[in-house]
């Protein structure tokens, strides 16, 4: 299908984009990679009258390290993160970027667009919520920095104003002894995960000093499994602790039944993914290089 007629505007700076959106009003939308917005427009589920394209703004896509944080321009494509040596400092970012859909989608889709879209099945929010992540946002009244926790308030809903955009994503580099992992089950490449799990473990020898655990695709927003975190924090990570963390994840998940699986199945699946993600995160916390790929079947 073809979208309804709309006007296309190309912004030359992010500030100009914000101004344009303010002036064009409620019927205008930012366009980044178009990998969520354009399909919706083609199905005529979303029918904006104006699109303000951010893709041609110079300097809006970058990956750089500044002191103890990685900075991503909002327009950075998934594939740029997948292939970036700088981003590889946090293997969990590579786990995520490399596993989003297929090459075409990764070449177009952006990290900023993905967070702004707040799709309940999106990968980025699940991963970045296990990290200390802040978003630098730009609106008509200027800049503000908001933590990612609390940024997404509901499915497809964020705290952003209508004419406010994400300018930069800042991810603090975890301390030594900390390791993360992100694992999803996807039935095939171009499909969102059935369920996914992100884990960040900070270890002190065999003991877990801190754990952050999020579950993706099993709720309207990313589910933080605090019960799973508590099961690990302060403990030796043994089979018993892992079993308790899995049990907590099963309980925390609040999935919907759909073509990807039934409610009960997704609960069991998310717990099983958690077990594997914990194992990978532990190895990474020990400094091991571990390559992971999502499970496709």
């Amino acid at each position: 299908m073809y979208p309804r007629p709309f006007h296309y505007h190309r912004a030359s700076s992010l500030r100009e984009a914000v101004t344009m959106l303010s002036q064009l009003g409620e019927d205008a939308r930012f366009l980044a990679g178009g990998q969520s917005l354009i399909p919706l427009m083609k199905l005529r589920f979303s029918n904006p009258s104006h699109l303000v394209d951010l893709s041609f703004v110079p300097g809006a896509a970058y990956i750089k390290q500044e002191r103890s944080a990685l900075h991503f321009g909002a327009l950075t494509r998934h594939s740029e993160i997948e292939n970036s040596a700088t981003a590889a400092m946090l293997p969990v970012l590579h786990d995520c970027a490399a596993g989003i859909a297929d090459v075409q989608v990764r070449n177009r889709g952006t990290i900023g667009g993905s967070l702004a879209e707040a799709d309940p099945s999106g990968d980025w929010a699940t991963v970045l919520l296990t990290q200390e992540t802040e978003l630098r946002c730009l609106g008509p009244s200027g800049e503000r920095t908001v933590p990612l926790r609390g940024f997404i308030t509901d499915a497809y809903t964020t705290v952003l104003g209508h004419d406010e955009l994400i300018q930069e994503v800042i991810v603090r580099i975890p301390p030594p002894g900390s390791g993360g992992a992100y694992l999803a089950f996807k039935r095939s490449a171009p499909v969102y995960p059935t369920a996914s799990v992100a884990v960040q473990l900070t270890m002190d020898g065999g003991v877990c000093k801190d754990a952050v655990i999020t579950l993706g695709c099993v709720g309207l927003t990313v589910v933080r499994s605090e019960g799973s975190e508590a099961a690990l924090r302060g403990h030796e990570i043994d089979d018993k602790a892992i079993a308790a963390a899995m049990e907590a994840a099963r309980a925390a998940a609040d999935p919907q039944a759909d073509m990807r699986g039934s409610v009960e199945y997704k609960r069991v699946l998310v717990a099983a993914l958690l077990k594997r993600a914990i194992e990978i995160a532990m190895r990474r916390a020990r400094g091991e290089q571990v390559e992971v790929s999502h499970i496709y079947a």
Partner: protein
């Protein structure tokens, strides 16, 4: 290569068409832009079953750029309903290309909107208002047969067709049985093929000469024009159909004639401007065609004390969706492989087909036979397990033996050749069967679920259309034929035209190989015209590309035409070179391809021969005036009309076979099935181009694995299709594919001139094989694989004991 004995047939030549297709220079229908062309969009029913109360197109027609709209009642007033192949009651169904007074599946087209651009057509479609009154939907075939809610009032029942196929002495076999196995219910799921290119039609009904011209990607155009001419009430010669490169069909594009009809009628209404319709992916998923879904009920199997199956009885219920279209041919086509690869002689299958409020079915790759072959493979594995016989041993005891070919099946089909035990042996060796058996036993001790499954399948090719008379004794079809033309053009170019419309099968290459051998020239010198064009006048009433037959019907026609041409060239050359025909030899010389006289050393090249016939004919002697060097040949399959009462006769010419083995592990925590190892062994007789055959095997294997684990057309209880996009319907991608080991044997067919067999469909071996492997992994948990589709969620539910419990579904009676 003059004088060489090397033949081109049998070589792994790269495909001639590859260069064009891989460089993005293929020509597909949507590449065609015509002057004054308009665009069509369908307004489709959101309901599975509803009465149309009112249609208001006035707002749409006011949109600038919308030219006109078209609705079902307008079509019904100026056309005949499409031909129904079924006798009564199915024959009473009235099928029009747009819904007339009610809709019968979600996605059924109700109104067509024609506009200056595709986007305006979409705007127009959005502005059409249709009021519906919902009716009770029927989404299950067995429920449909209760006739509680009827789809087609004219038919008075949802039953399209019923027939009993009985052979041998079933009762006696059951009386003599050492054991009897009963299986309550099995189900073959609904899935489709997802060609990269959707359906595309450009149709023009030109008022100047009252001719209809189609540029389209229909894959069986001679069938389509027969349906269209009768429907549109025009002389069939006034319909021109052209096809171009086609991005896949798998049979699904055979039934695009309703949309073709709408494009012609819309063109007529729009004053004769050409109309283009490009199907979207979602439209393709909800309303092009799905494969046949089938339920197997009350199966009883009689076995002797060696585990040899002696008889099978069963009731099969086929679901053809809302309109039969190509059906009920599927009600007989399965019987081409009635006993599968097995020797049992006694059987009774009660076969019924029903309409339901779902997308109409079309002849999807493996059409109607794969359902039945899957059923038989399940029966064999279940019986083997219940009797404690290993799956490979069970097959060896029941396979038709190599020395029994040609083998006449209980229903009169003649299996040309084959060697199933040898394929099994090769497959076992390639996969290291014994090694896996050990690993499986070890893994089982540690609680892991690994299964090893065998799937043996047949790909019957080159139909006897006389089988249509088994479903409808009044059907005016029998036999099979294909046409080809081979000529020397004015400057001596060899040009071959075939009535096929390939979709990746490499016809340009294999046809050139065949002609190259006849004329003893290099295939690069031969131009092959594929793609259908009624005005090329090579087609017969069966022309198209479907049903695994080109290697036999298409290439036999090409071979015949080439020989006819060669005979004419010989007569002409003997005259020109003043020698006897026996003295002539064909080959290539300094001036290109030529004919030489061995007796006097003189020669004439192709240009010389063509020149005389075409533009220098005064030198010809009158007895050569019938030589045209432009030879049409029609090849006819040597079939007889089957005995329609006994449902007996030879229904197909060749039987390619495939044997696959898979090792699958079901993860205990995630229930995700993972293919650990896979082997595919095929036998399609004499191979014309091994590389093409191997490519087809990989393609069919991917397709089948996708069908077994990923691809499922799901409807909810009110008939909403839940899998209309690639987010929910999952065609297999490379990340899902295991690496496949490939093996090959060749048992040449005595039925085809070259020994080749059709093999394009592949018989859906992976579906049987994956089911078998999953079953093998789960037998000891008393879980019974009941469905041809299995995914992590369904395995999860089975493992929790919610479904597929063997104790509810399988019964064994041991007498001896």
């Amino acid at each position: 290569m003059s004088g060489s004995d090397k033949t081109w047939v049998g070589q792994s030549l790269s495909r001639k068409e590859e260069d064009r297709l891989l460089r993005g220079r293929g020509k597909f229908v949507d590449d065609i832009k015509l002057r004054e062309m308009l665009y069509l969009r369908f307004v489709r029913s959101p309901y599975a079953h509803a009465k149309i109360v009112s249609i208001d197109t006035s707002a749409a027609e006011k949109i600038p750029g919308v030219i006109c709209t078209l609705r079902g009642s307008e079509i019904a007033s100026q056309t005949q309903p499409f031909i129904e192949i079924a006798p009564d009651p199915g024959g009473r169904i009235r099928d029009y290309p747009l819904a007339v007074s009610k809709v019968r599946y979600q996605g059924e087209p109700v109104v067509a909107v024609v506009a200056e651009s595709p986007a305006i057509a979409d705007d127009g479609a959005e502005a059409v208002l249709i009021e519906y009154e919902a009716l009770d939907p029927v989404v299950d075939a067995e429920q449909a047969l209760t006739d509680a809610s009827i789809l087609h009032e004219e038919a008075g029942t949802n039953k399209v067709w019923n027939g009993v196929f009985e052979y041998g002495d079933v009762e006696q076999a059951f009386r003599d049985a050492a054991s009897i196995v009963e299986i309550d219910r099995m189900h073959f799921h609904r899935f489709s093929s997802t060609p990269l290119e959707n359906n595309v039609v450009i149709g023009q009904w030109d008022p100047k000469d009252d001719h209809i011209h189609y540029w389209c990607n229909n894959s069986f155009p001679s069938f389509a024009i027969q349906f269209l001419a009768a429907h549109l009430q025009v002389h069939i010669d006034r319909i021109r159909v052209q096809t171009f490169d086609i991005g896949g069909s798998f049979g699904i594009k055979i039934t695009s004639y309703p949309q073709m009809a709408v494009c012609a009628l819309a063109s007529k209404k729009a004053g004769g401007r050409p109309i283009k319709w490009v199907e979207t992916r979602s439209e393709h998923m909800i309303s092009s065609a799905h494969g046949n879904e089938r339920t197997f009920r009350d199966t009883r199997v009689a076995l002797d004390n060696q585990g040899v199956i002696t008889a099978i009885t069963s009731r099969h219920i086929d679901d053809c969706g809302a309109y039969p279209r190509y059906e009920p041919l599927g009600c007989v086509i399965w019987s081409q492989v009635f006993p599968g690869v097995y020797r049992f002689k006694n059987a009774r299958i009660d076969f019924t087909q029903a309409v339901t409020n779902k997308c109409p079915v079309g002849p999807n790759r493996g059409y109607s036979r794969m359902q039945h072959l899957w059923f038989l493979e399940r029966v064999v594995d279940i019986c083997a397990h219940e009797l404690g016989i290993p799956a490979d041993e069970m097959r060896l005891r029941n396979y038709i033996r190599p020395e029994e070919f040609p083998y006449t099946t209980p229903n009169g089909c003649i299996y040309d050749s084959g060697n199933y035990p040898k394929m099994l042996e090769m497959a076992k060796q390639l996969i290291d069967w014994d090694g896996w058996k050990k690993k499986q036993a070890d893994a089982r001790k540690r609680g892991r679920m690994i299964g090893i499954g065998i799937g043996t399948t047949l790909d019957s090719g080159t139909n006897n259309f006389g089988q249509s008379q088994i479903v409808n004794p009044g059907a005016p079809f029998s036999g099979n034929s294909q046409g080809a033309n081979c000529k020397l053009d004015i400057y001596g170019e060899v040009v071959v035209a075939v009535g096929s419309c390939p979709q990746g099968q490499g016809h340009e290459t294999t046809a050139a190989q065949v002609v190259a051998d006849v004329l003893n020239i290099n295939p690069d010198l031969i131009t092959v015209r594929t793609g259908f064009d009624t005005e090329r006048n090579v087609h017969t009433g069966f022309s198209g590309t479907y049903a695994s037959q080109f290697a036999v019907s298409g290439l036999s026609a090409v071979h015949g035409a080439a020989q006819k041409l060669k005979a004419e060239m010989k007569r002409l050359a003997a005259f020109v070179l003043a020698c006897k025909e026996e003295d002539l030899e064909f080959g290539s010389g300094a001036q290109g391809p030529e004919v030489r006289s061995k007796s006097n050393g003189r020669s004439i090249n192709y240009w010389g021969l063509a020149n005389i016939v075409n533009v220098n004919s005064a030198v010809l002697s009158p007895e050569l005036h019938d030589v045209t060097l432009n030879c049409r040949y029609v090849w006819r399959a040597p079939f007889k009309v089957p005995d329609t009462k006994k449902k007996y006769g030879n229904l197909t010419m060749t039987y390619a076979s495939q044997l696959h083995i898979a090792v699958v592990e079901i993860d205990g925590e995630t229930c995700i099935p993972k293919i650990l190892d896979y082997v595919a062994v095929d036998d399609c007789g004499t191979v014309i181009n091994p590389r093409i055959v191997e490519g087809q095997v990989y393609g069919a294997t991917a397709h089948g694995i996708g069908a077994a684990l990923l691809e499922n057309c799901v409807y909810d209880e009110v008939g909403n299709m839940l899998t209309s996009t690639f987010s929910d319907y999952l065609p297999i991608t490379p990340v899902n594919m295991p690496s496949v080991k490939y093996g090959h044997i060749a048992t040449p067919s005595p039925h085809s001139y070259s020994g080749a067999k059709g093999m394009g469909e592949g018989g859906a071996a992976p579906i049987h094989t994956i089911s078998a492997a999953l079953q093998d992994a789960l037998f000891d948990k008393r879980i019974f694989i009941q469905d041809s589709f299995n995914n992590p969620d369904s395995l999860f539910r089975a493992l929790r004991g919610e479904t597929c419990r063997a104790k509810d579904l399988v019964k064994v009676e041991r007498r001896a």
